[in-house]
């Protein structure tokens, strides 16, 4: 089972996230996320990968983390990279400020109003399919 990250492991993942997810004109960089360290810990605990698998992937991570060294790591150790990049990007997209920038609700809980389906029904989009003739086969259709 996954376990809590040590501080050095968290630092390694932080450095990886900084390389994988830089800032854009509209989106923050991973290392600009206020609580990224906490989110990385939650992500590592949630992913369910075996503790040994995470430790092994981190052990292979280059000491000098750069775009080029991570690109090589991804090519040479794709399974290890998949684990760590999932944790890094998973933590990033857990951040409230990232979801907000994407227009993605932090809470997706949105019960429907009773009128919502009625409005769709009255939009006219259902009319062609309601007007279709029955299409199911019966035994009388056998040759």
């Amino acid at each position: 089972m996954s376990r809590l990250l040590s501080d050095p492991e968290r630092d390694q993942l932080f450095s990886l996230a900084r390389i994988l997810i830089p800032a854009s004109a509209t989106m923050p960089a991973a290392d600009e996320i206020e609580n990224l360290g906490i989110l990385l810990g939650r992500a590592a605990a949630a992913c369910g990968y075996a503790s040994d698998a995470i430790a092994q992937a981190l052990a292979k991570l280059p000491h000098a983390i750069s775009w080029e060294s991570i690109r090589r790591y991804a090519a040479e150790s794709p399974e290890d990279f998949a684990i760590l990049s999932t944790i890094a990007s998973g933590a990033y997209y857990m951040a409230a400020e990232v979801l907000d920038k994407l227009g993605f609700p932090e809470s997706r809980q949105q019960p429907a109003d009773m009128e919502e389906f009625v409005n769709e029904l009255e939009s006219g989009v259902f009319e062609p399919v309601i007007a279709r003739a029955p299409s199911f086969r019966t035994v009388s259709d056998s040759a």
């Binding site: 994988l20 609700p105 809980q109 429907a112 989009v125 399919v129 299409s135 199911f136 086969r137």
Partner: protein, 538 residues
């Protein structure tokens, strides 16, 4: 072995949909019912879907694949020879805890494949015989849908359907332009509070457990009522074999409790509701000198004809904000345009296609994993991430034809956490099914193109889906060609019944839980009405 408990009228193995319906039906009619369930109750608060890290939890802990989850309650499977993984979940409610609650009936033609298409076998019953049971289950569970679908004989629902949302509307217009069938999704997900279930709040994570308790998984939809009617449910109870007497009648079930102690539940009637893998596993485990090839297996068909409904998917990314996190998932709309056999397509059978939301960002980004590193990471990730909320997914549920070479057998070495031999799955996608898969993939692509998708991703096969486990103890009138009769009664063992998807003769192409539940209701009522013929039931 522990002391035998009091003899019950009925012992049921498995507390999934079929076991729940059978338990409620028989307990309501005054029978003493004991149900043995190897898993536990699930708490909706345990499901990950309302937590920010929910997609990460799906990687392992809440994986659909029991081998990946690795819980003691689930049994492992040898999948070395399986092109599709038969996913399942052990617990009260069974795999319905993780199902999408897409609530579809078989069509009349599904019961008459031999008559209409000249292949496979007809069922010993037909649509009209099952229709009243479908209707009663729908009403009991509060199925939400809109009647009048021209792909079906007349049907209607008490609960209004869910909105189809921006995704559904956009795709519906595209299908109208193509002249293809679609219909708003029918889901066993209440659109208003109903009995023990809350109103759907559209988390969009139905297939990983509803965190709001707003899905008709059978722990909510049926078990509270079965227990109120007097059924006794024992969790942490792993059935090990069905016991028989010298006359060849079932006498009960040998099972292992949480402490590893063997117990025996005596009963006048045994009902298997352990799904299309667990049921043949138990029948094969129940071999004796009297039944050397496994119980109820004089036909040699126990475990054979496994049908899994291979699924595929086409994901579309759009420029418009589709609010694609909004559930239910569940199906927003479905299409039966390609359901019925059309010889011009070059294969038998068809597919049911369902449009689903895409509530997670990681799932969206996974589609780009094959891109070169520099197009996937760095600045590129934001170009890809902008499609969050702008995706919709067509999934194809593909009819699988019965093949005796697709089967469940006992593994020679692998055992579960109680040391009971585990199943081995031998399953190959047939040429007919592959053609069906390919055809459905192309049509779902056409749908996204017609709807104006900016990017389209084709997934030719979901290896770990959909958990439709069918056909391994088929029903029929001929004991040489079937395991159970038209009522689910084993030809070889008159007080042994099977009520899960094992009994299905052909698979159709729809999600099978509605049919399994209707069949379980029909069988349970038959058991009740014919109780005098069955030894011991008063």
């Amino acid at each position: 072995m522990g002391d035998s408990t009091l003899k019950a009228d009925v012992v049921i193995i498995g507390a999934g949909p079929a076991g729940a319906v059978a338990a409620h039906t028989l307990a309501s009619q005054g029978f003493s019912v004991v149900c043995l369930e190897q898993g536990d109750w699930a708490n909706p608060a345990d499901f990950p879907g309302n937590r920010p890290e929910f997609e990460l939890e799906l990687q392992q802990r809440w994986s659909w694949n029991p081998n990946t989850r690795g819980r003691a309650q689930d049994y492992p499977m040898n999948l070395d020879s399986a092109e599709v993984v038969p996913i399942m979940f052990a617990g009260v409610g069974g795999s319905s805890l993780l199902y999408g609650a897409m609530w579809m009936r078989l069509l009349p033609s599904d019961f008459r494949v031999k008559t209409l298409d000249g292949i496979c076998d007809d069922w010993p019953i037909d649509y009209d015989e099952l229709e009243p049971y479908y209707r009663r289950i729908d009403a009991f569970l509060g199925v939400a849908g809109m009647g009048g679908d021209p792909a079906y004989p007349p049907q209607d629902y008490d609960m209004p359907p869910h909105p189809i949302g921006r995704s559904g509307l956009r795709m519906a217009r595209a299908l109208n332009d193509l002249g293809w069938h679609w219909w708003p999704g029918t889901n066993a997900i209440p659109s208003a509070k109903f009995k023990k279930m809350a109103k759907c709040v559209r988390w969009g994570v139905c297939e990983t457990g509803c965190p709001a308790g707003a899905k008709a998984s059978f722990d909510l939809g049926y078990w509270p009522h079965a227990i109120a009617a007097g059924a006794q449910l024992i969790t942490g109870a792993r059935a090990r074999r069905i016991t028989v007497d010298a006359l060849g009648l079932a006498t009960g079930v040998e099972w292992i409790d949480r402490n590893g102690t063997e117990q025996h539940q005596a009963a006048a009637t045994v009902i298997l509701a352990a799904n299309g893998v667990g049921t043949p596993r138990l029948l094969l485990l129940s071999e004796t000198n009297q039944f050397p090839n496994g119980l109820a297996n004089s036909s040699g068909l126990v475990g054979k004809n496994l049908m899994l409904h291979p699924n595929n998917e086409v994901l579309g990314l759009y420029g418009e904000d589709l609010q694609s996190w909004k559930g239910p998932a569940g199906q927003l709309i479905y299409s039966m345009e390609f359901y019925e056999t059309d010889p011009s397509r070059g294969f038998y059978g068809g597919s049911k296609l369902n449009l689903m939301p895409v509530p997670g960002i990681l799932r969206l980004l996974e589609n780009f994993d094959s891109l070169p590193f520099e197009q996937r990471w760095g600045a590129a990730i934001h170009d890809l991430g902008r499609f969050a909320g702008r995706a919709m997914s067509w999934a194809g549920n593909i009819e699988d034809l019965p093949e005796e070479t697709n089967r469940v057998v006992l593994d020679a070495e692998l055992v579960d956490s109680d040391g009971v031999p585990a199943p081995k799955i031998e399953y190959t996608i047939s040429e007919n099914t592959q053609r069906n898969l390919d055809f459905a993939l192309d049509r779902m692509t056409d749908m996204h193109r017609a709807a104006g998708a900016e990017h389209i991703f084709r997934q030719p096969l979901w290896k770990e889906a959909p958990g439709h486990l069918l056909g391994t103890a088929r029903m029929g009138d001929n004991p040489q060609r079937s395991v159970v009769d038209r009522w689910g009664r084993a030809h070889d063992v008159p007080n042994l019944f099977i009520v899960d998807g094992s009994v299905m003769v052909t698979s159709g192409a729809v999600n099978p839980t509605a049919t399994i539940a209707a069949m379980a209701l029909r069988t349970a009522e038959h058991i009740a009405t014919t109780a005098r013929d069955t030894r011991g039931i008063s």
